[in-house]
Amino acid sequence: MNKLITSIFLCLVAIAAIAQNKADIEVSYSEISFYENGVERGNKYHLLANAGQSKFFNPRTEEIDSLTSTPEGLASFKKTQEAAFQAMIAQGSIDVKKLPRKKETLYVVKSASDSTMTVYDMIGSDEPVYYTEPYSEMVWEIGDSTKTVLGYECIQADTDYHGRHWTAWFTPDIPIQDGPWKFHGLPGLILDVRTGEGKYGYVADGIEKSEKAINGVYGSDKYEKRKRKAILRAMRAMRDNPMGHLKAKGIDVEISPENLSNKTSTGDFIETDYR
């Protein structure tokens, strides 16, 4: 009898959790970010959010991750990639950019109930890692200026966060204390946020009511927990010395010296406090 009551209770809890899972809104953001040669990356992200939790992700990446989270799915995805590759060979030109693949690997999952966020990313193409961070590291100063974004009146707020100064524009008309990337904690949704010189940032380009479920990250058990700064240092090392990284894994690659570029330090990450 007790077992029955317990299982009914668990079911109710699960249903409540599912109900809680439903998003209120879906927002699309364009990332302001440049390759080292000055070309815009053109990355796109979506934020699914309700009052208690949110997920910031790229829909295409999530689609691929959901597909490849099962062995059959992974096989079928590899087949698709192979077919696309064969078609390019048949046409005589191979453009890796056109292959079905993931470009943005970042996920940020925020939870208001325990005031923490979890950031999932990849070091290189094969090292999934994650870290958690308490909400308290981001402290805002609300200013007086206002501007309109997507028809919403937004109020200015500033923060110094992990090595950069950020200016955000949030709207109290959408009472969700969330925003793109790791940004959160303003009394309204953040629609526009960027660094002083405008080299990094996120700008909302669409908002819609949504009842989609805010699911976890596919294959989250494959991600390894690390410290935030350790991850950033590893990514830096990867970017500065990709050959060394491969060699360290036992993959020997020979590249003629003229193909090795020396300029590696120009572009920095969105967080710069790891050095």
């Binding site: 696309a84 078609a87 109290p172 009472p175 309204g188 669409g206 908002i207």
Partner: protein, 852 residues
């Protein structure tokens, strides 16, 4: 002292604390936004409610401040803080948080390799019903009035639903029937090669469209039905409009079945036209032509007096090897027309004017069946298509005026064909193709004429059989494909016509007994170079033909050589350019070989040629297209120039009130220049798109009339634009403008430019999500002669109430101003034609839509 002051300041700190509770169930609410605003309305402090619903802030003072608590799906609560005790308990009541859905989520247009994906939801507007309504708004895609789809100025070559080609060229059934709400995305596949066996070997410059359905429409049957009834002021009486649509898209089976009927002026032919149909090689065409006169620039819904019915069922079964498809359609149309016409023939000795008032009725029944087996694999392609079409048309006309008469015609058409094609690919490089095509058609025509109390009856029997067998071999090395196709074509046709009691004033024979047969052997070497971003294709068809005419005219032997070259360059994914050119000789239309007269209608007769002619032609064209999907920009342009040289020309002679067309030996040179361009762009800020297009054409020809050579040049240009948008939640609009100008000059004497302008606007208001109100209208401005304009304004309105997702009611009033007639003038080569036509009057329609 200092210490006391500090203590006083410290004690002046106010702890703003409290709890946010859901009033409905007394549960704490997590994540509510809690803001303290000063007297100036500025945010002084903020927090969010924690897992127990609690919040905590400290402030130096709360004088004049208000506490605001907001949360999605709850009404905002506002509490003045001047005289409250903490902790506060704030109860939240359900409410709606209105989002300004300027919303564009996901990319509206995405690009992945050669596939462009349009997000349907981001182009659809409230008042849209079918996927066709939404396709019209997608930049780069153009849907013509007859339903034909073009991408970047080129006709599409396939229309798929979830990757299956269920409907072939009759895709109008899908675009008019499938609800846009069932479609997630429209994919355009550029350079689509439908035959997998040719992929990577044979280049295609055509694109295909694929509808990606939403999950809710897959693996199940979806239905929707419309039933409407009402009253019309002209034609006076009851009106109806109904539709039933059923679709199943399953992994191994697809079906679309539809029934549509109306008498409200909606032309159903866009749902029953096969846009991919090859020209019938039987080559028969009707000699009798008493169709209802065409209408210039007014849409069908204003002018068509119809009773129409269309039933179509289309099924596709995926078999172990390949797939089997059956498409069966039946359509019925009854169209009536009343017109009074004044025709003026421009002659050197003065103009001749003929007036007539006509009222006619046309019945068209059409039954067609198409049964296809297809295997489409990487190493083999097999397709066998059996097709049969039976049409029964009859037309009857009563004419009063200069020559009062009654005429009626029976024009049935029977057609059967079988088409077989097999391609096999060996070792990846070698291709072998066999094809066999057999067609038979019979087109008997009867024309009855009752004039001045006399009866005429003309009977024509015309039937033809065509067979074409061919084999081809091709091999491919490093992007170069060489192929040779050889084959044989046979054609047997016999035509008899009899025209008793010919009016006395007419000269010439009244009987034809004609056989036009030929046997052709041909070889087509083809060279195709396709490496990286360049494709070059050269065709060199050579044929030898032997014509026999059964003593009517002398037998002939001819050799034809018609080389053509095309070059495509696609330096990147955004730009594509194509150059084409060709020249060659071709036989004349064999239908023109008849020495005796054939009556086309009560005052037009034609006599054919009494010799066999061949014509020659040259053409060059260039086209470019550009797209930038991230910016939603699509543009294309095309220029074409063609020359044709025909050794005969049409002549026109008047005998009393009769017009007799005949052919005479003459050098007839035709030159045509045509240019067109089109730019489309998404307007994301208002979820809309816009489009601008323009065209120019010039056609120069020589014609022999009354034994005098006439050099005629017709020039025309047009510009148009359209824009649509959904700038706010409660309002959307569509606007279109088209302007065109035409001029005809003969022997250097120019008529004036005549322009037509058409504006169309539709405004939809959504005061409440269940209610929708559309006001729409058209304005036509037609120039009848120089600076003499005819303006017509038409207004419609429609009110829709959506009871729930499954049931919808609509009431519409069309032609509110009750305009009942429209006059216009058109010019053909040697005559002008002034017409007064009736319009559909005001009509009221009430309809119910049900969806599953």
């Amino acid at each position: 002292m200092l210490f006391v002051a500090v203590a006083a300041i410290a004690s002046a700190q106010v702890n703003v604390t409290g709890k946010v509770i859901d009033k409905e169930n007394d549960e704490p609410l997590v994540g509510a936004s809690v803001i303290v605003k000063g007297a100036d309305g500025k945010i002084k402090k903020f927090a969010s409610s924690k897992s127990d619903g609690g919040f905590f802030m400290t402030m130096p003072s709360v004088n004049g401040c208000r506490l605001e608590v907001t949360m999605m799906s709850f009404a905002k609560q506002s509490v003045p803080l001047d005289s409250v005790d903490f902790p506060l308990t704030v109860y939240m009541e359900p409410g709606t948080t209105l989002l300004k859905e300027v919303a564009v989520k996901a990319d509206r247009i995405r690009e992945q390799g050669d596939t462009i994906t349009y997000n349907v939801g981001s182009f659809a507007q409230q008042q849209d019903r079918s996927i066709g309504d939404v396709l019209k708004r997608m930049p780069g895609i153009d849907v013509a009035n007859n339903g034909k789809i073009q991408y970047q100025g080129e006709d599409i070559n396939k229309f798929y639903i979830e990757g299956s080609d269920l409907l072939g060229g009759k895709y109008g059934i899908a675009t008019n029937g499938i609800s846009h709400d069932d479609v997630g995305a429209v994919e355009v596949m550029e350079n689509h090669q439908p035959m997998q066996v040719l992929s990577g070997i044979s280049f295609s410059d055509k694109a295909a469209i694929n509808l990606k359905l939403k999950n809710k429409a897959k693996a199940t049957w979806t239905f929707h039905g419309d039933a409407g009834g009402g009253y019309s002021w002209q034609p006076e009486g009851a009106i109806w409009d109904g539709e039933l649509f059923a679709m199943a898209v399953m992994p191994g089976f697809q079906n679309i079945t539809t029934l549509r009927t109306n008498n409200t002026g909606e032309n159903l032919s866009s749902s029953s036209t096969d846009f991919f149909a090859d020209r019938r090689q039987t080559g028969l065409s009707q000699y009798v032509g008493i169709g209802l006169p065409g209408v210039l620039s007014l849409s069908d819904k204003r002018t068509l007096f119809n009773r129409s019915l269309l039933v179509s069922t289309n099924s596709l079964w995926k078999l172990k090897n390949g797939e089997f498809k059956a498409n069966i359609d039946y359509s019925f149309n009854r169209v009536t027309a009343e017109a009074s016409n004044i025709t003026t023939y421009f002659l050197d000795e003065g103009n001749r004017i003929i007036t007539e008032n006509r009222s006619g009725t046309e019945h068209t029944h059409s039954l067609s069946g198409k049964f296809i087996y297809e295997l489409n694999q990487k190493t083999a392609f097999i397709n066998n298509t059996i097709q049969t079409n039976i049409d029964w048309n009859d037309v009857s006309f009563a004419t009063t005026g200069s020559i009062p008469n009654g005429q009626s015609a029976d024009l049935p058409d029977y057609y059967v064909s079988n088409k077989f094609k097999m391609i096999k690919r060996f070792k990846g490089k070698h291709l072998v193709t066999f094809q066999s095509l057999n067609e038979w058609e019979s087109l008997p025509q009867t024309l009855n004429l009752d004039m001045n109390g006399e009866q005429f009856r003309q009977q024509i029997s015309d039937h033809a059989f065509y067979t074409h067998e061919s084999a081809a071999y091709a091999f491919n090395i490093k992007g170069v494909t060489l192929s040779l196709e050889g084959g044989i074509k046979g054609y047997l046709r016999s035509m008899d016509s009899q025209l008793p009691n010919l009016p006395q004033e007419l000269p010439g024979l009244t009987e034809n007994v004609i056989n036009t047969n030929y046997l052709t052997v041909y070889a087509t070497p083809k060279f195709e170079y396709w490496v990286r971003r360049v494709n070059l294709s050269l065709n060199l068809p050579v044929s030898y033909a032997h014509y026999t005419f059964d003593k009517a005219i002398a037998n002939r032997d001819e050799v034809y050589f018609s080389p053509s070259l095309s070059f495509n360059w696609k330096p990147n994914n955004r730009f594509s350019g194509t150059l084409r050119g060709g020249l060659g000789r071709s036989p004349m239309n064999l239908n023109l070989i008849h020495p005796g007269l054939i009556m086309t209608n009560y005052r037009t007769l034609k006599s054919g040629v009494d010799n066999f002619y061949t014509s020659s032609s040259q053409n060059v064209s260039a086209s470019v297209s550009y797209k930038h999907t991230r910016h939603g920009l699509f543009a294309n342009g095309m220029v074409m120039h063609s020359w044709s040289h025909i050794p005969y020309t049409m002549a026109q002679q008047l005998f009393g009130d009769y017009v007799v067309y005949s052919y005479a030996d003459a050098k007839n040179d035709d030159r045509m220049l045509m240019a067109m361009g089109n730019i489309g762009k998404t307007l994301d800020f208002m979820r809309g798109s816009c489009n601008v297009n323009g065209s120019f054409s010039r056609n120069e020809s020589h014609l022999l009339s009354q034994r005098q050579l006439v050099n005629s040049v017709s020039t025309g240009w047009s510009v148009g634009g359209k824009i649509n948008g959904n700038p706010c939640r409660w309002f959307s609009f569509d606007y279109r403008i088209d302007y065109s100008d035409n001029r005809l000059s003969m022997n250097g004497i120019s008529e004036s430019w005549l322009s037509t302008m058409e504006n169309e606007i539709s405004l939809t208001f959504i005061p409440h999500r269940k209610w929708q109100w559309t006001v729409s209208g058209e304005h036509y401005r037609n120039e009848l002669n120089e600076h003499n304009y005819k303006n017509v304004v038409m207004l419609d309105t429609k009110l829709t109430f959506q009871l729930n997702k499954k049931i919808e009611f609509a009431a519409s009033l069309t032609n509110i101003l009750n305009k009942r007639s429209y006059n216009y003038t058109t010019y053909s080569q040697l005559s002008s034609f002034e017409s007064r036509r009736q319009l559909r009057g005001r009509q009221f329609l009430f309809s119910i839509t049900l969806r599953k």
